[in-house]
């Protein structure tokens, strides 16, 4: 997937917390404004000409509903036109990884092993089910990480 993006340099940028392609973003925003606003204005005109007996505030509220459906519609169009700029990594965990994490966090293994003895049976069962009990129960661990 990364090759697909890496062929030539695209103008990626972080907007509102996630990555976008700037050209795509510009088109998507225009789509959003045009579709939503025309849905609202056309909807209001339609309601005014076909249901003139509706109270004015309800009329604009219904037109607003049409306008907001327009927003949803423009989101669907943009989602189909522009794929997400995200790379999804799915990782597995091994015993060595877990030990590495504990080392990285500077966990005091001796103290953890002591404290584990005070833990209630329900938590112990949970930890055993998850196969992380031994990770903490072992007092001194002889393992090599990374090398």
């Amino acid at each position: 997937m990364s090759e697909e993006f890496g062929v030539r340099k695209k103008p990626f940028a972080d907007v509102w917390g996630d990555t976008v392609d700037l050209k795509h973003l510009a088109i998507a925003m225009i789509i959003g404004i045009l579709i939503s606003l025309s849905c609202y204005i056309l909807g209001l005109n339609y309601l005014q000409s076909h249901f003139p007996q509706l109270p004015a505030n309800l009329m604009t509220a219904y037109a607003l509903l049409i306008g907001i459906s327009g927003c949803l519609f423009s989101a669907i169009i943009s989602a189909n036109l522009f794929k997400p700029k995200r790379i999804l990594n799915e990782n597995d965990f091994s015993e060595a990884d877990r030990n590495a994490v504990l080392d990285e966090l500077n966990i005091d293994r001796e103290r953890e092993a002591e404290e584990l003895k005070t833990v209630g049976p329900k938590i112990v069962k949970e930890m055993k089910d998850l196969q992380i009990y031994d990770l903490f129960a072992k007092k001194s661990v002889d393992h090599k990480v990374g090398e």
Partner: protein
């Protein structure tokens, strides 16, 4: 009478169900701001004329559901679902790296269900205790808003910058409001409110448009996400939240939620951090400590969602908490249907038993919709969102939403006001730490400030 009650009950259930389903979906998208999503849609149903009980049930179901599915990106990807999830990120990431992110998720959302059921009755009870002071609070409202604005400004990241900007920003908002009055003969609220909510996005846009600042946001590669493997470990569709947590964890969560419900004016993030610290210092053994503090911290954020909405709404009818200034703002102020000066909103339209009943309906519906959904489909749903829903599509939708709503309120003048506030407020927010809460509170204080300081009515 009975027929009327039954009719209201059906409205409440229907609205709660709609809110629960819609916001279970929106919550999956990491980083979607509560204010920018819940407020506009709540505003919409108010303007559509939903009965008050339905508006309240919708809001509670929406807020609780969104909060619950928001735990998914936090636990599985290490990306905060919303700002309130930030304090939980570190603990969740340790569990994720130990290969048990699904446990982090299960503990978090089970904690939030328990907290929701604890927080609602406490909030309603506390609001009833405060209600006798309501008249005094209401008559002092403009001064209370001004004092609150100064306090919120001081506690924000911007600190002195926020206080320094307070009067100029109030002046700007009242100035724009006067323009609306000149053009349309009425003042605006929705346009200003939405402008503040969408501000950070506009700050990014302006940053990218200028060659001087563009490099701050440009990046050469797509963003990478790490997703943990699936590890399902219970049978059936409906897991029982009470079985997921141990006795001690339930106790800590309920206690933290109860205390958080009583501190409705404080910062939710601050309360969450504090709960996490206290529990971490008391609970031994890494795994037990992390799972307990995650359950309790997520419980605290859930409880503050509910308490910060219910207490000011029910007791005073004026927005005096961070939630009331953000996602819940339309419940207080949604002209022409609801107004907060003078108070005419859910405060007058709902009886205390209705707050309790329709609040429970909202929480129940959320726990039947969002809870089993997050427990069962967390991973599949995250993969779908990451691979199908682009950020462009989300921004496309929100741009449309803001434009339509401000046009609805005040035509092209509304759009202009909204964008002006968005650009200036957004930059103050992004680069100077003057967050949206400060800006909303400044708005509520602005009428009084401008009148007192400059004599402009």
């Amino acid at each position: 009478m009975d027929a009327l009650f039954f009719n209201e009950l059906l409205w409440g259930l229907g609205a709660a169900l709609a809110g629960g389903i819609i916001f279970s979906g929106i919550g999956l998208i990491s980083g979607t701001d509560e204010t920018a999503t819940i407020a506009p849609l709540t505003l919409l149903i108010i303007l559509l004329g939903f009965p008050p009980v339905a508006v309240f049930a919708w809001f509670i179901a929406a807020a609780v559901s969104k909060h619950m599915t928001h735990a998914i990106p936090t636990a599985l990807m290490g990306v905060p679902g919303d700002t309130m999830a930030v304090p939980m990120l570190q603990d969740a990431s340790v569990l994720r790296r130990l290969g048990v992110p699904h446990i982090a998720l299960r503990k978090m959302i089970s904690g939030s269900i328990i907290a929701a059921f604890v927080a609602l009755p406490i909030s309603v009870g506390f609001a009833s205790l405060l209600a006798p002071y309501a008249e005094a609070v209401k008559s002092w409202a403009p001064i209370i808003f001004t004092i609150a604005a100064v306090i919120i400004a001081y506690t924000s990241n911007g600190r002195w910058a926020s206080i320094f900007v307070l009067i100029p920003f109030a002046f700007l908002m009242q100035g724009l409001n006067k323009m609306a009055i000149a053009a349309l003969g009425k003042s605006v609220f929705i346009s200003i409110f939405l402008g503040i909510a969408i501000g950070p996005m506009f700050a990014d846009l302006v940053t990218l448009l200028s060659p001087v600042s563009r490099h701050l946001l440009l990046r050469s590669q797509p963003r990478e996400f790490w997703l943990a493997p699936e590890l399902k470990s219970w049978k059936g569709y409906f897991p029982n939240p009470l079985h997921v947590l141990t006795g001690e964890q339930k106790l800590y969560t309920a206690a933290a939620a109860a205390i958080a419900s009583l501190t409705f004016t404080f910062s939710p993030v601050g309360m969450t951090v504090m709960a996490g610290e206290i529990i971490s210092s008391r609970v031994k053994s890494l795994y037990q400590r992390l799972t307990t503090s995650l359950a309790a911290m997520n419980g605290v954020t859930e409880a503050t969602y509910i308490a910060e909405t219910v207490i000011p709404l029910m007791a005073f009818g004026i927005p005096l908490s961070p939630m009331a200034l953000g996602p819940a703002a339309p419940l207080f102020n949604a002209p022409p249907v609801f107004t907060s000066q003078p108070v005419h909103n859910l405060h007058n339209l709902l009886a205390p038993y209705q707050f309790l009943l329709y609040g429970f309906i909202g929480v129940m519906v959320a726990s039947l919709v969002a809870y089993p959904f997050s427990m069962n489909y967390a991973r599949k749903a995250s993969v779908w969102v990451l691979q199908k829903v682009s950020q462009e599509a989300i921004i496309s939708m929100f741009t449309g939403l803001i434009i339509v709503l401000s046009y609805y309120e005040a035509g092209v003048v509304g759009i202009a006001i909204s964008i002006t506030i968005a650009i200036l407020g957004g930059i103050l927010n992004r680069y100077f730490g003057i967050h949206t809460g400060v800006q909303y509170m400044t708005y509520y204080a602005s009428g009084y400030l401008v009148l007192t300081l400059f004599g402009i009515k």
